[in-house]
């Protein structure tokens, strides 16, 4: 059973998906289909990380972030992805998965299933992290009157 999610959310989860599972899912999407058209990339490049600081509420560039971007046409639909790091296979696979769902292909459910697993995995990782951090919170004795 899949939960319907927005395309933006799906792209976020595909960006975070483990490479091996992503490749397996994308390979399934390609099965029996003509080769996808690579509209751009997959290319490794940078995006400038811009932040808004609190003192003047103004923006500045913190630095660059290494990313890989890919745009494909699969099942006559455009798919896009951007993943952190130097990851050309992953970006290409994620763009194919994106198009598969947009085109309501046979494996759309598998892609959504992968996304759901990633989402649960992220929540579990975060909870596990807090579980280890929480004991380092400083607990104060009540101050005497």
């Amino acid at each position: 059973m899949t939960i319907a999610m927005t395309r933006a959310r799906r792209c976020e989860l595909l960006a975070a998906a483990p490479l091996q599972q992503l490749l397996e899912t994308a390979d399934a999407c390609l099965d029996g289909q003509p080769a996808p058209v690579l509209l751009s990339g997959p290319d490794v490049g940078t995006v400038v990380m811009t932040v808004r600081e609190p003192v003047e509420a103004s923006r500045f560039h913190l630095g660059d972030v290494l990313v890989t971007q890919s745009t494909v046409e699969h099942r006559s639909i455009k798919g896009w992805s951007m993943r952190m790091g130097d990851d050309r296979p992953g970006a290409l696979a994620a763009a194919i998965c994106d198009a598969e769902v947009e085109a309501a292909g046979h494996h759309a459910a598998a892609v959504e299933q992968l996304c759901n697993e990633v989402e649960h995995g992220q929540a579990a990782t975060r909870a596990e992290e807090w579980h280890r951090l929480e004991p380092t919170v400083v607990r104060f004795e009540e101050m005497g009157e």
């Binding site: 994308a26 390609l30 099965d31 289909q33 080769a35 690579l38 997959p42 290319d43 290409l92 194919i96």
Partner: protein
Amino acid sequence: MTVLDVLPDAATAAVLDESSKREVRRAILTAIAIPGYQVPFGSREMPVARGWGSGGLQLTLAIVGQSDIVKVYDQGEDGGVNAANLRRLIRQSEGVNTTTDPREATVIQTRHRVPEDTLQSGQTLVLQVPVPEPLRGVERDMHELRRMHAEGDYSKMWVSLYEDLVRNGVITKTTGYPCLVGGRYVVATTPIPRWDVPPLHQAEFLSLFGAGREKRIYAIPPHTDVEPLTFDDVPFQVEEVSTPCRCGLVVPDGDRQSYQVELPQQDGSSIWACSDTDWCSRQRVGAGLLDPATLTETEVEL
């Protein structure tokens, strides 16, 4: 078919991409249009350290095309380690041919020298500049430095030259002698010796100066005045060259010797050699002292 089957090979990266080249090119055009003005540019990090010719390298990479022939030399020497390294980078990145003969070269990248051969129209001299600011010795505040250039206010520089003359009897500025370009901007002539300043005046060739670490580009177009700062009654002096090269040659066409560097010997004596090794070799071949075959560059691709 899998994702990996359709994944194309990654494009090989150039040292400087098209967009970075365009930025350098835009700065070059402004530099040429305002001779001697230090144009700020977004100097990229190069595979060589800042201070090792990264400014000259960016200029050369930005201007060369496939028909260009590039010479890179350092202290007058094509075999110098840094020159050889830069030459290899340029050749690998842009696929251009290289030479040691400045007469064949269309682009000559240099550190600290101008070729002894008179360069011609259409040739471009690219100078690696460590410190582009000629006034830094007399003023450190960058706001004030910018104002001085903007207003053409070089009085502090003149005062400093005058004090030097009074204190020392001569102007003791050695290399990178300050010059007025096009009657407007004072420039640092990189650390080239004073010997190399006269060839820049009303030259046939274009000179481009690149300071990568300080992120400045400046230029001297052909047919432009380059006047060393000096006083009416104190003529500009190039380095005295009294001893000929150990090659023993007197230059055939007369009064212009070549710039000599000193090679101290164990016994305290010195011998002297032409700093421009390619020029020296050709003179020696001309005099029958050297086998012409040795002039052919035999560098191998790494």
